[in-house]
Amino acid sequence: MTTQLLKVQNLKQYFPIKGGVLGRKINDVKAVDDISFEIKAGETLSIVGESGCGKSTTGRAILRLDEPTSGSVEFDGKDLLALNKGQMRKMRKDLQIIFQDPYASINPRQTVRQILSEAMEIQKVVPKDKMDARMKELMETVGLGAHQLDRFPHEFSGGQRQRIGIARALSVDPKLIICDESVSALDVSIQAQVLNLLKKLQRELNLTYLFISHDLGVVRHISDRVLVMYLGKIVEIADKKSLFDNPKHPYTQTLLSAIPVPDPTKKKDQVILKGDVPSPIDPPSGCRFHTRCPFATDKCKNEEPLLRNTEVAGMAEGHMAACHYIEEIASGEMKRQY
């Protein structure tokens, strides 16, 4: 099946900044600024990028946890943003989210049973009498025992809590799950357990994931396709292989080179970016990366590059990057300025 399950178009999320004498809106945090992408049913699309680039905001906007400023989010052919509150509430059954913090993401005062039954009750997915059986099944699915149903969150470890969060998301039989840094807070050994579980669930339940992470290692492991964001914009999107083996955007390239590899023999030539990520309040003109880009020219400063695919540079189908100089950089015609 290769139908589009989720289609995001021209999504913008601006957070107003109030100020001035009258406390009126004086500016916006342009957290997500006009991004479009699609996710096919059953695949995993990852969003990577540095802190504050708008990854979570994208996820939250899709779920309407924050109302997006503009754009459209089509899910299974329906425009989510056009739904009223009640309709949206029903719709939520199909879209779930798993959060980062295993401690903050479940109510410490409810037992696992209460957590799961409440979720099912809200969406009325199973009749009351079948609930128990369903909960047992869920617990086993996420690798916990049915005997742990009556425990409270504090009796579980971080990894186990994360499984409870997953069980809660699964309890309403969603089609799409947004994983916002779902394994970032876990120790490596536990992280591996949860990653394996997510993959297994996807295979078994034909789930679709929107996987948000800043860890490219994790992303490479779990995704089918990867989307790189910088300052609220998509800079590159490609299937996993193309992106890691053949990154085209200078940002993607430096990002990959900046990540330390756990292999001392592989000492490579690192590109160290200068400066910090600029503020999303007044993002740089033209290409938002130009202030830090080792290749930047005047054109980059003035003209905003569009996402594009060029065969010249050996880009696979569906691989797009937003850079004016994909070809030049690929051919080595353009040299880094630092």
Binding site: V188, H214, G217, T254, L255, P260, P262, P264, I272, V277
Partner: protein
């Protein structure tokens, strides 16, 4: 084993917290050397006692914690025997420290310049003015743009990366012989992390100091350290030079750690990751024998019952595992090669 030109030698360090629920053995048998001018990385999962180890060296453990055993030899003297006043002379002057959270480690009500200058005032008895002048030099050294203006900035006016640079400036102000960096980049983005790590490495060469780098990121270790100590549940389980450790890890825990790491430079082709089953024991319910035994695919009766000691494997590597001893009662194993198989048959 004690490395000859090591600047600090920590031996069987023990630090516990005496809480209402009983003694928490946060650090319980930590042994390592930091060779002069080199970088030692300490890796371990959360709660393994890395930070407490570093605070113990600084003698900054607060009640209800207490260092109750072992020794810390710095320049031939035992730090644990020093008075508080003597320690104060060492802190910030001979041993400095950078903390994990650049956001909260700087005092919000003083300017960055004041905070750097204070180190000079404390240790070199300089006047405020002179100290500030030297602070400016430090800011330049750590590569903060327009340092003059930053001198008067308050911490909240700086970005995370800048703050961490300021922290480094404070730590390095008096050119210490040993810099302890407790997860200095965990809170930062990868691109900034790369900047900071490079900065620390550069300054290390320039100043010729030794660095104790604490991290949970094996990638960081591989890229920046000369030696590595792996900690698990309050103990060092393996100590080796960095190449040996990554190429030929000995301890099952080290092996498991490396194998469970998803890597961006290698495609797993859809394979599942190897995992370490179970979870880290809580420090107030530690197992009897080897702390790793409950999670170890090779564990035998012996492992469950008796605690192995950290032994020299050769002249530079040490490991805390029964497999490498004469007492080993299990089948012959090559930990690295047999790990995955043992791991899956176990369950």
């Amino acid at each position: 084993m004690e490395i000859k030109d090591s600047i600090i030698h920590v031996d069987e360090l023990q630090t516990s917290f005496f809480t209402e629920r009983g003694e928490v053995k946060a650090v319980d048998g930590v042994t390592f050397d930091v060779p002069a001018g080199k970088t030692l990385g300490i890796v371990g999962e959360s709660g393994s006692g890395k930070s407490i180890t570093s605070l113990s060296i600084m003698r900054l453990i607060e009640s209800p914690g207490e260092t109750i055993g072992g020794s810390i030899t710095f320049n031939g003297e035992d730090l644990l025997a020093k008075s508080e006043a003597q320690m104060r002379k060492i802190r910030g002057k001979e041993i400095s420290m950078i903390f994990q959270e650049p956001m909260t480690s700087l005092n919000p009500v003083f300017t960055v310049g004041d905070q750097i200058a204070e180190a000079y005032q404390v240790h070199e008895g300089l006047s405020k003015k002179e100290a500030l002048k030297k602070a400016l030099g430090m800011l330049e050294l750590v590569g903060i743009p327009s340092p003059k203006a930053r001198l008067k900035a308050y911490p909240h006016e700086l970005s995370g990366g800048m703050r961490q640079r300021a922290m480094i400036a404070i730590a390095l102000a008096c050119r210490p012989q040993l810099l302890i960096a407790d997860e200095p980049t965990t809170a930062l983005d990868v691109t900034i992390q790369a900047q900071i790590l490079r900065l620390i490495n550069g300054l290390q060469e320039e100043l010729g100091m030794a660095v104790l780098l604490i991290t949970h990121d094996l990638g960081v270790v591989a890229e920046t350290c000369d030696y590595v100590a792996v900690m698990y549940a309050g103990k060092v389980v393996e100590y080796a030079d960095v190449n040996t450790l990554f190429a030929d890890p000995k301890h099952p825990y080290t092996v498991g750690l490396l194998k469970s790491l998803p890597r961006h430079d290698i495609d797993m082709e859809g394979e599942d990751l190897d995992v370490i089953k179970g979870m880290v024991p809580s420090p107030n319910e530690l197992p009897e024998g080897c702390r790793f035994a409950p999670r170890c695919p090779f564990a035998t009766e012996l492992c469950h019952n008796e605690l192995p000691s950290l032994r020299d494997l050769n002249d530079k590597d040490q490991v805390r595992c029964w497999i490498y001893t004469d007492q080993w009662d299990g089948p012959e194993v090559n930990v690295q090669n047999d790990y995955s198989a043992a791991q899956s048959t176990e369950s």
